[in-house]
Subunit: 464 residues, 2 copies
Amino acid sequence: MAERIVIIGADAAGMSAASQARRVAARSGREVELVAVDRGHWTSYSACGIPYWVGGDVDGPHGLVARSAEEHRQNGIDVRLSTEARAVDLDTGQVEVVGNGSARTTRLGFDHLVLATGAVPARPPLPGIDADGVFGVQTLDDGATVIDYLARRRPSRAVVVGAGYIGLEMAEAMVRRGLQVTVLERAPEPMTTLDPDMGSHVRTAMQGMGIEVVTGVTVEGFDTAPGTVSATPAGGSVRRVRTDAGDYDADIVVLGIGARPATQLASDAGLPLGATGGLRVDDRMRVSGHENVWAAGDCVETFHRVLASYVHVPLGTHANKQGRVLGMNLGGGNAVFPGIVGTAVSKVCDLEIARTGVSVAEADAAGLDYVTTTIESTTRAGYFPGAQPLTVKIVAERSTHRLLGGQIVGREGAAKRIDVLAVALWNGMSAGDLAMSDMSYAPPFSPVWDPVQIAARKAADELD
Amino acid sequence: MAERIVIIGADAAGMSAASQARRVAARSGREVELVAVDRGHWTSYSACGIPYWVGGDVDGPHGLVARSAEEHRQNGIDVRLSTEARAVDLDTGQVEVVGNGSARTTRLGFDHLVLATGAVPARPPLPGIDADGVFGVQTLDDGATVIDYLARRRPSRAVVVGAGYIGLEMAEAMVRRGLQVTVLERAPEPMTTLDPDMGSHVRTAMQGMGIEVVTGVTVEGFDTAPGTVSATPAGGSVRRVRTDAGDYDADIVVLGIGARPATQLASDAGLPLGATGGLRVDDRMRVSGHENVWAAGDCVETFHRVLASYVHVPLGTHANKQGRVLGMNLGGGNAVFPGIVGTAVSKVCDLEIARTGVSVAEADAAGLDYVTTTIESTTRAGYFPGAQPLTVKIVAERSTHRLLGGQIVGREGAAKRIDVLAVALWNGMSAGDLAMSDMSYAPPFSPVWDPVQIAARKAADELD
């Protein structure tokens, strides 16, 4: 009889896992039955595309779906949407599910369980945070809700809480929808995954597109009508954001203060969570200590190769890779997820922003001894039409000279250069090694020393 | 007394060496006297920018000069232009030079000699090759000569011989100057540093901009008037290119069939050349067997890390790095030039072209056992505005799974991705390692699996 694999969560990690398990099992003639449940309405979509959908740059929601439920079903995966997993019983090997219009709980037996429950936007317990018009953005359904709100209420003032990737992208989306936008950030500069000196470039770009940027400010609550605080949606729609430095009018609020792993179900079932709150898995994506339970994506914590410790980094790129590795192993193959180095990229207006490895703050927290160098250069030869400015910052370890981190801000053509630094870090290269490596050069593409190599060279000089 | 360092050749390699030697020597309190001679009229310029200058996209020649002779002199380097080194006497430590308007030969003593004599465009001994209007393009002076010819003669038909980097760039420059352009290439497809299946994309792009591309054809000579063949400039200007497949009218001819190391001077002095014709140097850029003779740039041969053999690759990026390493060592420091992996990038019209490592032909010649994979993807998420098609091809070794080479063709945003492959090759990464590495992702920058990773993943699957 076929082994049954139940997958909870039908986005990137879950469906990559299901597809790979099916493919690999089929190759070895192993019979598997794949059942994927998800409380939402979509499969295999690009959550990263939501801000661009909200901003009107891309079509959604269908345009953001890489593979629909129907396509997965045609591949033999039993996808059940609008279906919520309520509990997992590891002893009997069953999942309690409710859904598809019925309030009845049914039990779904499994031989293997895959947890791909994702992450949920952080919602600190502030007064009024559950008011109508205060949104976190994580799923396609969240995106649809925001778009619906914008269409129905026609808000004119948006406040975005948090100036990280999602906050910035949603702020830009709101500007493109014609709203007045204020971004509130607790830190001294936006984008705290960068060092403040690099984050200040982000502030300038945001201000350049008319966004009000307020930093060093703590949000204390949300008012639904002048002077009143509501703690429930029934209390009305958001009207104002209260902070320790005054109030900000808002017809819509977007929370961009991070996401936490959605692990309640796993935790209730007694599965192990790490210090980050994410599920502990081994490098084959098996939940630690559980032979037949697997997990991948935004609900797990991940090994950071530079820090040599576990971190929670909910990004689609990791979810896809982890799902693939999980599925290969589950299908009978052999694959390893080798960890991450903390690479990320984004843009706000025409400023491209990228980082990899550790920032100065992370290096300090990890007790690393380092030097930093920052250089200004151009995306093409300085004399070539279209050459754009960019700034590259490098963090390198004093004792070993190895690269610890890199940050890039600049105009078109700047950010993707971070991948070279990411692969260099991945391999433990020293700053001097990278400076001398054989990167491509022609005037339409870079100065004769690529900006990344100029920065690495300067770091190497500094270390000598 | 100060040691005298004589540098022959005042472009990238020579002047990088001079500048570094000065800097490093000064730091250690060592006294050096630096004399640089060059038969041309310029220092430290971007030869790679010449086609764009000819095409009218960038200003020249001054705009292509990174540091002028005057600037170098202000830094204490005695630069002597229009001054040709005629002979080197290693026994007495002297260089014979002629120049600056005088026919008198003078002797310049040296404690250390730096050879940075560059390369010269290949000029096969074909009938008529020395006719007026047949140009190789290597130096700023060459560029000025071509521009002058275009202005004076107003040619309407250009033939470019050779469809490599220079040939393609010069063909595009001629199109931009309003000429009808034919490119003649001996191989089956343009750009033979790529595999033919990738080169065919280049052919399509060239044809798309109106260039006539004739492949599989051998040039046999140049006519200066209908029916006559001239072997000297005095015989008149070029009028036609003869090939084994018919004749092509031409008012101007550009040779783009490679460059050979300019090593006559070195060879006459008894210095060792390798099989490539380039000077043999160690990894500190010292000429093999000669304590006080150094060389860098287009006149030397270079260690190819993937092939583990010596190659001649005349590119500005190597010249700059080698010059820097040479200068650091010569100044009393300690630096190593670690070789190359064969990275190069170019564009023709809006097609970007890049390669690194070995092509299939090179892998075959080296007796490597490999698999290849080719994928089509996009420069941004498929649904994101401005996503452009690109093709990535990977060559990976069957036994070790290590990456051997990569090729990319595509529209804007495609080619610089080659650097990731270059750094991966540099580190001996396997296809599977690269597929799982932490490259950046956001919809404006790449699909969730970067195209390079899609290709690496497919290669890894193939190898399994």
